[in-house]
Amino acid sequence: MNDIIKVTNVSKAYGGVKANVDISFKVKKGSITGLIGPNGCGKTTLFNSIVGYHPIDGGSIEFDGKEISHLRVGDIARLGMLRTFQQTKIYTKMNCVDNMQISVSHRRNSKNGIFASRKGEIRERAEDLLEFVGLYSKRNLISGDLSFGQQKLLEFAMALMNEPKVLLLDEPTAGINPTLINGLIDRLGRANQELGITLCVIEHNMRVIMNLASHIYCLSNGKMLAEGKPSELQNDQRVIDAYLGGH
């Protein structure tokens, strides 16, 4: 029961392309788990399957002990599992504070009703989190006018605003400059430590993922290639081959 996400033998094909074959994958509650692999190996497909973006062809996905493979995106999000997108998705014509405020949790027990006020606690939390990712001074700007890196930070802050149990991050550092990457790693770690959010991260930046994750899975050609602690994977010949042109 310690596994908050438990994926068992999941397969998914797009027409003739077998994107995921018999994938089994576990994320421990409160951990940071990494998911690596060459481009096109099926990482994002696996994320999409987990959050209910498309139906899976076979296998089972459990979240917090509950079978969720038949649920749809909104239902799964309301259970407390969110994802961010590789192509950043934010509400581009709204300002940053508004982006944050509408990202509050819509779980059944939440007190954020349809006609809830936009002032007070909700606004304060939005501003605090914008400060947390370093966007406080930009809070009144239209979010679509921000730089790509800032938009990624905003999307991350929006996910935190929702207070999820699990957050799936699809390449959080892609397109972000090295200084900002360090800041982001720090914040991912703090979100995990201080807010108790379980993280699952797809990442190509090896330095980032090796420092961040406690357990890493490596996919290749739609199959699970290897798993283990970062130090184990770094010395795994199969992983090295997959990354150095083995596919």
Binding site: L82, F85, Y91, K93, I114, S137, M158
Partner: protein, 350 residues
Amino acid sequence: MMRRSTFITYAGLGLFGILGPILFPAYTLSIAYLWMMVLMASTWDILGGQMGYNSLGNITFFGVGMYVSAIIQISIFYEPGVGEYTSAMGAIKPEFTDQQYYWGIFLGIFGGAIAALALSLIFSTFMFGLRGPYFAIGSLGLAIAAAEITVTINYVGGASGISMPMFPGDIEFRSVFFYILCFTLAVLSHFVIRGMLSTQFGLAINAIRDDEDKAEAMGLPTLIYKQIGWAVTAVFMGAIGAVAGNMAGFIDKEVAYPVPTFGIFMVAMVLLGGKGTLWGPVLGAIIFHIVKETTWTYLLGWQWVTLGLILIINIVYFQQGIMGWLQSKYPEMFGIVVDQSNINQEKKES
């Protein structure tokens, strides 16, 4: 600063609303139509502007409200009912007392609004599966279908329509009476919309406009927001439809479902004023109505050309409309600024 300008705007519009028919009694009905157009534009903007669902079918609710109110007004105090009345082709002229007339019209407005609300909830169950242009065309289909179905129902007079009960007062008082109804409904709709937009609801429908997939991925129950948005639109369109039917005095398919005129005007007014803003539709409706009335008076024969020209200039050069253009030109007026103040410092101060 914005507060002050908002106050001035309300004071100005309020004064005009109250003094208009007193100072220009000849234009009372024309100004009444202005408020009707303000209402139509403002309610269209809930879906079209704020939520990104371009509905071309809101006029359905207008027509349904109009017909339902006619049925209620006639049936409630005339024993044989609407069917008898319409099949007599005007041979029967039931006399209503003043009291019966006023009760009838208020119940009619209320009933029209409720009927439109119910219809919008039915439409919501299947229409919101459509997005973008498909929703626009689908909703246009609803309006056309509603008009055609109405014609086939003999109970409401089929193609020959219904004569509405005669207004009991004199003609000046008639204008003032309908003016007050239109003005009240427009003001009511404005403040209801303003109130709704100031809550989380406003942000939610903006989020649906900007990226519906993201909104769903964040757990936003999008359907309920869409339903509420359309339901509010329908209630006001149904109510104003009931008023418009009585103002016209005679209703048929053309009066109840003016798809090519009001159905398109309400979209054009919002685009002109700036969609997705509170004041854009109001401003657009006022300008549009003034241009329309002036050209109909002084440029008769060219009025459609002038209107078309304005629309083309609007679409080609000012796609964001007047309010949108102002916002991109003077963002600081709308509070879109970088704020270098420190969050902790600000908290200490407050």
